[in-house]
């Protein structure tokens, strides 16, 4: 009898056991919490009586494949592609490179979407619920590979010539003043 077959069975059992360990949670019910959150507009970096405490990152969609792929869908449906062109840039700056004018942290991107930025980026306050903004934030971060590899989208709903997000080289964010 082949003495290797017990090892084969053990390996199969082990991989099955590992595969059953973790399944990503889709935070549907957290949507309500994050949508009910009211953001105060930040119009000036000056605050009376010292800096306020930074808002905790309330995104339920960081490092979440479901949230990232929802963000990818919304990125097209809300016509972000109209200016940012699937991340390569057009009228708006590219989002798949390493250059960040207004910060690469999730909170920075959230502010860019909600408050808008000079020279064209509209303010989406009260037009996109916070939960969906967080999904867009997760997708924007994934465009330059700044999400775990297992979270990055691997396919598109429609034909697209660019490399899938999970096959791109991850970019190290660099702060710049020119887009």
């Amino acid at each position: 009898m082949n003495p290797r077959w017990p090892w084969g069975i053990a390996l199969c059992a082990l991989s099955l056991a590992i595969a059953s360990c973790e399944r990503e949670v889709r935070p549907f019910q957290d949507l309500a919490v994050s949508s009910a959150r009211t953001q105060k507009p930040v119009l000036s970096p000056l605050f009376p009586g010292g800096q306020p405490l930074p808002e905790p990152n309330q995104s339920p969609f960081q490092k979440n494949a479901y949230g990232t792929s929802e963000g990818k869908r919304l990125f097209d449906q809300f016509n972000c592609s109209g200016c940012h062109a699937h991340g390569g840039g057009g009228m708006g700056p590219p989002l798949m490179d390493d250059k960040w004018v207004y910060g690469s942290e999730a909170a920075n991107i959230f502010e860019s979407i909600v408050e808008g930025r000079p020279n064209g980026m509209p303010a989406w306050r009260n037009k996109i619920p916070d939960a969906q903004v967080w999904q867009l934030v997760a997708y924007v971060q994934s465009m330059s590979g700044n999400e775990p590899i297992d979270v990055l989208p691997g396919r598109s709903d429609h034909m697209r010539s660019s490399t899938p997000e999970n096959a791109r080289r991850a970019q190290t964010p660099v702060q710049t003043h020119t887009p």
Binding site: L31, A32, A36, K127, P129
Partner: protein
């Protein structure tokens, strides 16, 4: 407090009524085998009659599919009975001495040949009947009265009524209106994953495939509302992706078309006007279109005549004010994973928004 006390004592019956002797539990609740039989009978009954039942056909395609199904059942029953009878006879027979005579050999050859020929003819007959029933689904027997595009979305249906005049084009989410007794051609498409359009009382299943157009048709013999359902697993809320087919006489259908082509009704009261402002300044406007206003996005279902529809959320909820309120404020508790995000409004704004949406008849 009163209610809490009742709950604590484990009784939901008001104190005044407890004096009368309640029927004993055993006399009301049937025993387990009886319940199983009742449940099975109920399932069988719902499959035969009523809405969303393939064995209760109300149109030519459904009828040919149902006839085909009954024919298959009859053939299979006959085959099953014949095989079982032959099997039982064979079991009962004694082992006989070896018989190599030419007569016996010829008899056996003849019997096996007849059985083989009967089997082949039956299978070819079933295949031919299946092909005829299947092909009947693709193109209508007569000229189609109208053509309607159906686009599947996760998890709702968009029925698009096209016209040469661009301003006469409109969409009717989750509700397909058709005239009675006339074939309606359906061009089926999908915006995301594979869905399947299925109205069991009227037609068979037809897949909606992204990137291509599939054809089918539908015809109702008598007026009525027929429920349909997505028949291809398409994600989290596949089970809540239903639709209604409303079959009406031609004059009522034409009136419905004329009404749907109109832009949304202007709000009448101050509250409705305020509700329209709330709609235009809130996330609603990012996804939903209302013809005749600035709202023009087609990410979600069009709401121009939303109050005239039978259901909300693709056949999930009856179209009533309370259900609408629940759906807008937190649809994720009703249909988890659906694409409508929860929304929070100030109470007066919310009431105004509800009044406005309910006025969109």
């Amino acid at each position: 407090m009163r209610e809490a006390d009742d709950r604590d004592s484990g009784s939901w019956i008001p104190a005044a009524k407890t004096s009368s002797p309640a029927p004993t539990l055993t006399s009301v609740v049937p025993t387990r085998p009886v319940r199983v039989v009742i449940t099975a009978a109920a399932f069988a009954a719902t499959a035969c009659s009523g809405n969303q039942a393939g064995l209760n056909p109300h149109g030519p395609i459904a009828r040919s599919v149902a006839t085909h199904g009954w024919a298959l059942l009859a053939i299979c029953t006959v085959v099953y009975v014949v095989v079982m009878v032959a099997f039982i006879i064979a079991l009962g027979r004694r082992r006989q001495d070896a018989d190599d005579s030419p007569e016996t050999s010829a008899r056996l050859t003849r019997n096996v040949s007849i059985a083989t020929a009967l089997t082949v003819i039956t299978l070819i007959g079933i295949a031919a009947s299946s092909v005829v029933a299947g092909r009947g689904m693709y193109s209508p027997s007569g000229a189609g009265a109208i053509t309607v595009d159906v686009v599947g979305h996760q998890w709702w249906w968009d029925f698009q009524y096209h016209d040469i005049t661009p301003s006469d084009v409109f969409t009717s989410p989750n509700e397909l209106h058709i005239p009675v007794g006339v074939p309606v051609v359906i061009k089926a498409m999908s915006s995301d994953v594979i869905h399947s359009f299925w109205v069991p009382n009227l037609m068979g299943k037809r897949d909606l495939i992204p990137g291509m157009v599939t054809n089918t048709w539908i015809q109702a013999d008598e007026p009525g509302v027929y429920r349909g359902q997505c028949a291809e697993f398409c994600g989290h809320q596949h089970a809540h992706m239903a639709l209604n087919v409303v079959a009406e006489p031609m004059d009522k259908f034409q009136a419905w078309i004329r009404h749907q082509r109109q832009p949304a009704l202007e709000p009448v009261t101050d509250q409705e006007r305020h509700g329209r402002d709330v709609f235009m300044q809130s996330p609603c406007v990012t996804c939903h279109a209302i013809r005749g206003t600035d709202a023009g996005s087609h990410v979600g279902p069009e709401l121009t005549h939303v109050a005239s529809r039978l259901t909300l959320a693709a056949g999930t909820l009856p179209n009533a004010r309370g259900h609408l309120a629940g759906w807008i404020s937190n649809s994720q508790s009703i249909k988890p994973g659906n694409r409508m995000p929860p929304n929070s409004f100030a109470p007066t704004d919310f009431q105004a928004l509800l009044a406005y949406v309910r006025s969109l008849r």
